[in-house]
Amino acid sequence: MGLMGTQKTMGARELETSTVVRSWTNTNPYSQGIVSVQLRSVGAMLRVTIQGAAGGSPINWGEVAVEALYAENATSKRGTAFVARYNFGFLETLLEGNVNSGLLVLAAFHTFRDGSRRVNYFSREFFREVAQ
């Protein structure tokens, strides 16, 4: 179970965070993208940690702040979606996640910033909660 808490971002209503503040693992054990996702509350903010796939031994992308938390609709105060961003220098990855029926759906938009003209690409993966 996630910890109870709330988050407020820039002019926004406070949203309850327990739906997303959990540890999540990819439903596909053979993923070549993201292996696991962990969200936690730090003070009034949310932070996310990603473990990427790397041939059997996950690579820690590090922890970044969640830029914004979103409710399931305009009148709800239950946070069910988030946006976060990783900047690797040569590559920027925008993460957009939402929880639906206990499943975290995570879209990752990868944009190359190194002038290599490699193709920007996206991925969408699914994660189930890990019991703590």
Binding site: T9, M10, G11, A12, R13, L15, Q32, G33, I34, G52, A53, A54, G55, I59, N60, W61, G62, A68, L69, Y70, A71, E72, N73, A74, T75, S76, K77, T80, A81, V83, Y86, N87, F88, L91, L94, E96, N98, A107, F109, H110, T111, S116, R117, R118, V119, N120, Y121, F122, S123, R124
Partner: protein
């Protein structure tokens, strides 16, 4: 953060002469829900060598009906593909910012919205998903 996922290390450089083909995304798209919550109509077009341009006609009371046009960034399904099948775009609606991600599945455009409240209005920042079909 020096680490990258294996997926990102395996990509094959694309042909620099060939930008992503946006044909799967371009056109006029209408919400499958005749009473949509956020977006009624989307136009995506690709004027020459310019970026992909997105125009939105909104449906939510309290927000502008015409969101105007903005650049949309195209994305391929993987780093080896030359076909754009997804996009990301952001609209600043004055006190509201809506980040849209879209992707095409079997001819349906799925648009996921992350609408962020930046002022003090009585509305939560919210997530939504809507579906669109292409019209001539």
């Amino acid at each position: 953060m020096k680490h990258v996922a294996l997926e990102q290390m395996q990509e094959r450089p694309a042909d620099p002469r060939a930008p992503l083909d946006p044909a799967a995304l371009t056109g006029n798209w209408v919400n499958t829900n005749s009473s949509p919550s956020l977006i009624r109509h989307i136009q995506l077009h690709h004027p020459g060598q310019d970026p992909l341009v997105m125009r939105v006609i909104g449906a939510e009371p309290g927000l502008p009906e015409d969101w105007g046009a903005t650049d949309a960034q195209p994305f391929a399904e993987n780093a080896a593909s030359g076909l754009a099948s997804a996009f990301s775009a952001s609209f600043d609606l004055g006190g509201i910012e809506s980040l849209l991600q879209g992707y095409v599945v079997k001819g349906v455009l799925v648009v996921v919205s992350f609408t962020r409240v930046k002022d003090d209005r009585e509305r939560s920042s919210s997530f939504g998903k809507e579906f669109f079909y292409r019209v001539p």
